[in-house]
């Protein structure tokens, strides 16, 4: 908990102005409290992004909050596993949802029902991972949709 105390030496400042400054500073500090710091290794050989992504931005506002950093793919037991690294660039916690659709080499959707939205939360400046696996060996390509989760 952070308190903003108006020092006596600043008594000459207009009271309303001082209150506004204090409120703004308090808000900044409170929002800053929720941010995260990250420590990671600089291990050589780990590429920033393995998958050549096509990041189609339909919502520039969302991009400034939820940024896609990189994407990785690996085949395990014959199935493609995908990991997309994202980062909360906005202020405060970010609740978001994502959905993946897999297609075969002909571009046809692999028929899996239901196609679901998965919910995740990231603290301010926190990095997270969207992880999913191909439904079968015929699954060739994927498309992920990101959306902010705001309850109506």
């Amino acid at each position: 908990m952070i308190q903003i105390i108006q020092p006596q030496t600043h008594a000459r400042i207009n009271t309303v102005g001082a209150a506004l400054i204090a409120l703004a500073a308090g808000t900044t500090l409170l929002v800053g409290c929720k941010a995260t710091n990250t420590v990671s290794s600089n291990r050589p050989g780990v590429q920033p992004s393995v998958v050549d992504m096509n990041y189609k931005v339909n919502n520039a506002f969302l991009e400034t909050e939820l940024r896609v950093v990189s994407a990785y793919e690996q085949v395990r037991n014959g199935l493609t596993f995908v990991q997309i690294n994202v980062r909360n660039e906005g202020a405060g916690d970010l609740w978001y949802m994502w959905q993946v659709v897999w297609t075969d080499r002909n571009g046809m959707r692999i028929p899996i029902e239901p196609v679901i939205w998965t919910r995740e939360v990231l603290a301010e400046r926190q990095e997270g991972m969207i992880e999913f696996a191909a439904p079968n060996m015929n699954a060739y390509d994927w498309r992920v949709t990101l959306e902010k989760w705001e309850r109506k």
Binding site: G78, L79, F81, I116, R119, F132, P135, K152
Partner: protein
């Protein structure tokens, strides 16, 4: 003029009352989308996320590679170790089973009476032998050549929950634990929990 204004006001008030009294008609929503209801228990979307997170871990594990694929499994009924009697275990199981089956790595037997997904038709089909009503050429014959395959592994699942409160708020956290046993050796070859689903409400 004054009388006219009064009438208009009365009419407006009545209209407002009628509109308030009208119930919102049902509408179709995306079952896991942003309009989906979030309750304190396990919702439909939660069920799907639990199953997805669990199967992703299972399928990325090398534990099943020791068997000729697809390995045959029995899927046991889910144990509910929570205080919530209305857990959608059937929805979770359906997604887990179909995802594993579609992956091509694991198949399930429907021949066992005590396993989940029992199909009495397997046994009944063999009881048609010597029944003159049926073309005997098409009847599933019993015997060593036509014996039903026995499962090599069994999949066990258990719903777990933790309840916490500080007097003002309450938190309920759910997770699904799954372990897979090799039926020949009795060894557990894989174990894991789903992504936990936590709900916060007020007391």
């Amino acid at each position: 003029m004054h009388h006219h204004s009064k009438s208009l006001l009365t009419l407006a008030t009545l209209s407002a009352l009628v509109l308030t009294a009208c119930e919102q008609p049902p509408k179709r929503i995306d079952p896991t989308g942003r309009e989906a209801v979030t309750g304190m228990g396990v919702d439909y979307g939660d069920s799907q996320e639990i199953a997805e997170s669990l199967t992703r871990q299972m399928l990325s594990s090398p534990a099943f590679l020791r068997y000729q694929q697809p390995v045959l499994a029995r899927y046991n009924n889910t144990i509910n170790n929570t205080s919530d009697a209305n857990l959608p275990a059937n929805v979770v199981n359906t997604r887990i089973r179909s995802t594993l089956l579609n992956s091509g790595q694991i198949q399930f037997t429907a021949a066992l009476r005590t396993a989940e997904g029992h199909d009495p038709g397997v046994r009944e089909a063999r009881e048609l032998a010597n029944d003159p009503m049926f073309n005997q050429q098409s009847v599933q014959q019993s015997g060593a050549m036509n014996a039903v395959e026995a499962p090599q592994i069994s999949v066990n699942s258990e719903f777990q929950s933790v309840y916490s409160t500080d007097g003002k708020a309450k938190q309920k956290t759910y997770q699904l634990r799954v372990f897979v046993t090799d039926l020949l050796s009795g060894r557990v070859i894989w174990e894991g929990t789903s992504k936990p689903i936590a709900k916060l409400g007020s007391n």
